[in-house]
Point group: C2
Chain length 783, copies 2
């Protein structure tokens, strides 16, 4: 999971209506051991099957999957990564519990690795070049799993090679504002090395921002204040707690875009056109290297210069100064002087500057073969409608949490469904595609290449994409990100399921004619009732509901939603935010993210894993088996209203530039009207016997709505981003991203007419998209 790219903001809207729709279809129970259902055009979700699946998802099997998946490091394209490809194929081709078919798709993609011969180094050197201090090249071997040739040393993937040397400056999180502040304070940045802490902005952005100020090298570390709730001592960190040990280093991709860097918009087949890597864009402009906080402490606590601002201070137990250079009373030698004769006087002259930091980066770009694994269950009635469920397979080291908690759930879910399939008990209405993506950690590469290769087919036929990357961050609550139409099906699933002991877990199905096996987990609450206690919002439509977050580009859902316009979601269990302020689970992307870490600290009973499996499994079954697709398009209205409300704050300045919000208001109203009417038509149709073609026509409207928000002309600078509602928003106004960004740009450039023209253009693009969306939802014979 690429954490830093997750966009802020929480959207989502409750979906009791949508739930009602789904629930209304829980009406054709079949015995779980009845013969394979014949393909009837009216085949609908079978509640008994759903109950069977929920019950059979086994926490212990998930644990054993995880143990196997994480037992060795499996960096993308490594031998163990390839071995896991075979493991997945074997599971999905198992005669007793496999799927209809499984295969791999391979791409030749550009990855970045540290040199094996020349380790990356970070040293403090004095003015003669003597090394005074060296940062660790690798993490401390605390559990026996941090050593060996398969543990890739900490590095910044795609950072260019180079050996810059200069005085050190502390630059906080390396944001644009941070560098501006340093400049304002008169700190010399030209030819310096900056030390930054993770967070605030994306990894690569730290180098991009730094280079603009003449910085020649960047270091980055994880501050204990940001990840460990302040804890930093060996005996209070892993393996003694879940906290990051002092030598732990977050690896990661520093590539600005996603997908294979050399083949944008084209599948990275061996024969594909490739950019020359010198012409490829999105790589950091200057060398960067990540280090552990223990080493960072040595550097930072020795810095001279003025005291850094209060909110730049961290948990290393010293005052953070800005630099440049080390303080004269610290660990590193002071400046030295010589004398020159001037007339009869000997005048002291600064001969040698302070000790400097030398960063040696020897990363290499390499073309490697990376595989996706695809497992397919053929739909009985509408085999040309695909519900996709995926996660990446590659890790930085053992990757127990990231991504193996997700893959462990994926394998258990596919086992349970595969078993029903092989027994002849069940075959879904629509096709199900399970996917294990390669090289996600380098920038969602496997999934992006997949969407490029199957662009047309997926745009034509994909109903939804379910992503379960890290399935368990922590044990407290469900956390879902997704587009509004998936809210209702997720709520429905979360209400059906409890997090509990093995063998239980079916929640409140009583209203639909079934009685759940009540087996309280922590407190007998459904996943939903627990969730709403942690993350909630007040919906104008539904009242208090759990809040569903928006999708950024943090995992493999990104190409599905942003490039293809496929309704997508990401499902996980996560923290009690009142108990930790950790940016993410502390051993993220380190060699300490191991099976024992999960088994001991994150989810000892694997009940959170099971809860995610049950929730995601129910979502998958509802999407693949319901006669009417459980996508409540009306739930987009709340998002549009909130964007519109934010846009209203711009009404006065926009009108000053002759830009009217009127057409936007009208378009939102049209969308609302069309969505409401469509839901009414569905409700009416559900009362009668449904003509299969009529159902298909409605379902096509539901499926294709998300596609209507794409506009390939909207963001010409943004690779792959074409969804006019979910493209990255850099502007501060929480409205449609194109409008927000263009407005912010126009504001900052003063009264540039071209900038205001772009505001109007972005507004027109949104209006056209909303009009198109409304047109797609209206009765199909009304052109």
């Amino acid at each position: 999971m690429q954490w830093v790219k997750v966009l802020g903001g929480v959207v989502g809207a409750a979906a009791l209506l949508g739930l009602g729709i789904i629930v209304g279809h829980f009406a054709i129970p079949k015995g779980a051991d009845s013969p394979a259902p014949s393909a009837s055009a009216s085949q609908d979700l079978d509640l008994e099957i759903l109950k069977t699946v929920i019950e059979q998802l086994d926490a212990n099997r998930i644990r054993e999957n995880l143990r196997e998946l994480s037992k060795e490091p499996h960096l993308a394209t490594s031998p163990r990564d390839e071995a896991l490809v075979q493991l997945l194929l074997q599971r999905w081709q198992d005669p007793e519990s496999g799927l209809d078919s499984a295969r791999t798709t391979e791409y030749e993609v550009l990855l970045s690795f540290p040199s094996e011969e020349q380790p990356n180094r970070v040293d403090v050197v004095n003015s003669t070049g003597a090394i005074l201090f060296s940062c660790r090249h690798s993490e401390e071997n605390l559990t026996g799993e941090q050593g060996g040739p398969n543990v890739v040393p900490p590095y910044a993937a795609y950072a260019p090679p180079g050996t810059p040397q200069g005085p050190l400056v502390y630059a906080n999180q390396g944001s644009e504002e941070d560098f501006k502040e340093l400049q304002n304070k008169g700190v010399k940045l030209q030819d310096s090395i900056v030390l930054t802490r993770y967070g605030g902005v994306g990894r690569g952005a730290k180098a991009v921002n730094a280079a603009k100020y003449g910085v020649i090298g960047v270091l980055v570390y994880t501050d204990p204040k940001d990840i460990n709730d302040g804890k930093s001592l060996p005996n209070e960190t892993f393996p003694h707690s879940w906290c990051l040990p002092p030598s732990g280093v977050e690896r990661g991709s520093y590539f600005e875009y996603f997908g294979d860097p050399l083949t944008p918009y084209l599948p990275a087949t061996p024969s594909s056109f490739r950019l020359n890597s010198d012409n490829a864009s999105g790589f950091p402009p200057i060398p960067i290297q990540p280090i552990g906080f223990k080493d960072a402490q040595v550097l930072l606590c020795n810095l001279g210069g003025n005291l850094a601002p209060a909110d730049w201070q961290g948990g290393l137990g010293c005052d953070y100064n800005l630099g440049p250079g080390f303080r004269s009373n610290g660990t590193f030698p002071e400046d030295r002087f010589s004398c020159i004769l001037k007339g009869e006087w000997a005048v002291p002259r600064l001969m040698f500057p302070s000790s400097q930091v030398n960063v040696s980066v020897h990363n290499r770009l390499e073309l490697r073969n990376s595989s996706n694994v695809l497992g397919i269950i053929r739909g009985a009635v509408e085999p040309d409608r695909y519900v996709l469920y995926g996660n990446h397979r590659d890790s930085w080291v053992h990757g127990a949490v990231d991504p193996s908690t997700g893959t462990a759930v994926l394998l258990e879910l596919s086992r349970v469904l595969g078993t029903l399939l092989k027994k002849g008990t069940w075959r879904p209405r629509r096709s199900i595609v399970f996917a294990s993506w390669g090289a996600e950690e380098f920038g969602l590469i496997g999934s992006t290449e997949f969407t490029e290769e199957f662009f047309s087919k997926l745009q034509e036929r994909a109903v939804a994409y379910i992503n379960v990357d890290i399935s368990v961050f922590a044990n407290a609550t469900l956390r879902v990100q997704g587009t509004p139409p998936i809210q209702s099906v997720v709520f429905s699933a979360a209400k059906q399921v409890e997090r509990g002991r093995a063998g239980s877990g079916v929640g409140d199905l009583s209203g639909v004619g079934l009685h759940g096996i009540s087996a309280p987990g922590s407190s007998g609450l459904s996943i939903y009732d627990n969730w709403i206690r942690y993350y909630n919002r007040s919906s104008s439509v539904y009242g208090l509901v759990p809040s569903v977050g928006t999708l950024g580009a943090g995992s493999d859902y990104a190409p599905f939603i942003h490039f293809l316009g496929i309704s997508s979601m990401d499902i996980a269990y996560t923290y009690d935010r009142s108990k930790t302020s950790a940016r993410i689970y502390p051993t993220y992307h380190t060699a300490f993210d191991t099976f024992d870490y999960v088994n001991k600290f994150l989810d000892p009973g694997f009940t959170s894993h099971q809860a995610v499996a049950r929730t995601a499994g129910s979502v998958l079954l509802q999407l693949s088996d319901s006669l009417f697709l459980p996508l409540n398009v009306s739930d987009y209205s709340e998002t549009l209203r909130s964007f519109l409300q934010a846009a209203e704050n711009l009404r006065v300045p926009l009108e000053q530039h002759s830009i009217s919000l009127g057409p936007l208001v009208t378009a939102v109203e049209k969308f609302e009207g069309a969505a409401t009417s469509l839901n009414q038509r569905i409700a009416t149709l559900q009362k009668g016997t449904s003509d299969p073609l009529q159902v298909r026509i409605i379902n096509d409207q539901l499926m294709l709505l998300e596609r209507t928000f794409l506009n390939s002309q909207a963001f010409p600078e943004e690779r792959y981003y074409s969804h006019v509602l979910w493209a990255p928003r850099t502007g501060s106004v929480a409205t449609f991203p194109g409008l927000s960004n263009a407005y912010s740009q126009a504001e900052s450039t003063g009264h540039e007419p071209a900038a205001w023209a772009e505001v109007q253009r972005q507004l027109s693009i949104v209006v056209a998209a909303l009009e198109g969306a409304a047109a797609t939802l209206r009765p199909v014979a009304d052109l």
Copy 2:
């Protein structure tokens, strides 16, 4: 119709297999007066209905439609254009013969008109500025229809205003090669006015090319050799024959792109973002004015300089010289000299240059409201599948041929279908959308804005677009342009129908259980058998078949095929090319294109109109009513093979730049295999009783194939063009346009690595598209 933009090349492939498929469905006859069929999921084409429609399409009614449509000039957005909007609405809302519904969609678009106060002028002036000769401002009023305020004077729409003056040069057709040749011959082009003849390159290109050489104004005329088979005298031209009279002037749009110039990619709603017209691109860079050949003769036959090359000579009865300037022994005054004293000597000095040509253009850009009219028949079974049939409504003057011959057919076809509909006899399986586009003559504006407004809906649901613009150019033979999958349905229609006397016209249906009313037109041949005598080719699959041409951007099909990837076609009756070499019918875009012209010279019996109505009507019915869509996707294979064969000629130079054709060969083979298998599956399904969802799944594959050829990244410089097989080809090799153009560019730039990289990129784009196309055709559960 925009004639000059029609791309060359004739593709097409016979479709006996496809025909067989359709014919196989002529099997559920129903009485023509039986009650309205209920919506049965298996509803298929009813041959009795087809026969009824063919028989009822009435030549006299088409004639009367044409008389009404062309009785007054109806330039886009003029009062008469608006009156015709009402006429169309009235016809389509008629209680006895109307459609289910009809409405208008209005756009605010940028048009270009000559000034009413200041007529555009072309004058020969002497060195004192005195006018020696003036070209006519309007055409001669030969039939009483060429006068009056509603006849727009000849002008070049979108040519910028200006009053350049300079010596005249003859520049042939104004192609790049022509200007190069003038330069090579040492003819001074800087600050000259060039006279060009229509043909060879697009209208606007003449000015674009000229401006590169410093030319400051362009004149353009139609040479009698190119349009009148040499005839040029008043008594041998209209109204005495179909030939262009000496004062006739072809008007036209000189805009380089299509669609509203200010709102590319956005529907031109009143509130839409608009480019500032100064920032809009695609307008001619220098003033241009078209003139009649009589005026051109005065200018051209008086030119001095060297004799123009043999293939630059024309039919004006004099030698064409190149200029610059007029010859001294002609109509216009010679140079004059004065003397100056130099010492004691009086020395002659050139005081005045030759007479020059002054071009005064006062065109104005204006935002105008232009309407489309849409008429809809709701589909009984699949209302969300649209078969579109359209033509533009606007003309330059009376527009009898262009576009009213097409609209007259459109109205007769909609009357016949509307009558069956209102009687309750028939309702098509799929929806039919009739369209009357506005402002086509200015650059396909109405249709393009329509595709922008309904982008999503059309991409989701449009089965095909049938364009019938000029329906009758002449009386000899059918002429069809289209994408390969429509070949089979056109052949099928052309075999069913004869061109004959009123009341007859059903051809060979005997093989499908019906007996056509044999009524020989010229010779009792079917449209097909007549067609194959005029335009044919040898197909590797079918043997000798009529040749179907490719689609350029000559009429409103352009946005449908190039921007939306909707299978499209254009149907007309046309010339016997052995009898005329006219570029197009001679009065094209002049004030002589009147009802009498059609009624007297083009199609006195309106049997060609009827033949087009019958053919297009049958195509429309087959597309809207057949259970399986009559699109033979396998017919793309022949096109791909021919492109591949042409690419093979490049194999050696490509390999020298490490570019392999192997992946292209493989992709074509995959496409062929997938298409053949799909046809086999269809044939098998047709033998049994068809499950409606299975039929729908197959039809979706057939419908969406054309979409898979779109790539919005392929031609970033080409507005709207995204179809990787049919984008404009400027390169000389008859292969995939992107490959051909990039190759030609790479060749011409020598060994520029970036140019060869673009060749590889274009190749990869085609390979990816073909792979995607094959994937769409393969069994839907094979991901």
